[in-house]
Amino acid sequence: MNQDSIRINVLLFGACREAAGISELGCDLSLPATAANAWTELKRQFPALAAFERNALVAVNEEHARMDHILNDGDTLAIFPPVSGG
């Protein structure tokens, strides 16, 4: 890995996981990288995720985050639809 890119861990949950057909993967991103950049890359790899364009939420390292959140090497990015627990 060179210093112009980072590797993050991606977790998918709920309908996003089901659409992508995968629950966890590694993802390389060029710097500077935001959650939105990761989302774009994931949609490229898993086109079915495009259905969640307006609804997908993200968490970085187990904290709710916004799409403009800046990612660092080794971060865990979770992608999911609005929560529906309880």
Partner: protein
Amino acid sequence: MSPDIFEITREPIDKPGLEQRLVTGAAGAVVTFDGVVRDNTKGRSVLTLQYEAYEPMAVKEMQRVGEEIRKQWPDVERIGIVHRFGELKISESSIVIVVTSPHRRVAFEACRYAIDRIKQTVPIWKKEIFEDGEAWVEGQRPDSDQNHGR
């Protein structure tokens, strides 16, 4: 260490056991919310519910709800929140929330706040399994709710 309880589990929730751990001598009111699987959604028969959780984050978010409660209602004695995941049958409990306090108003308000917040922030998703199909339950986008921001 906080005496409050925040757990995610695959096993059936032991509601009496949870309540027992939270009743202190100073407590006069125990308010419990128990969310159970309904046999229908808008009239369509439900067979089971499948809950999926982002476990470590879910526990963190439940703890955060606990912190919010203690800030808003300092008189709360104890808070317990246990959320189950996996496949649940009709009338099984998906979540049990227990709040104890010296007087009832605080326990009622804090317990209701807890379930409202959990439905906004805790990363858990559920899918309804019908006789003839299945569907993820749609959550609310956080920005559609003014209370979400923090």
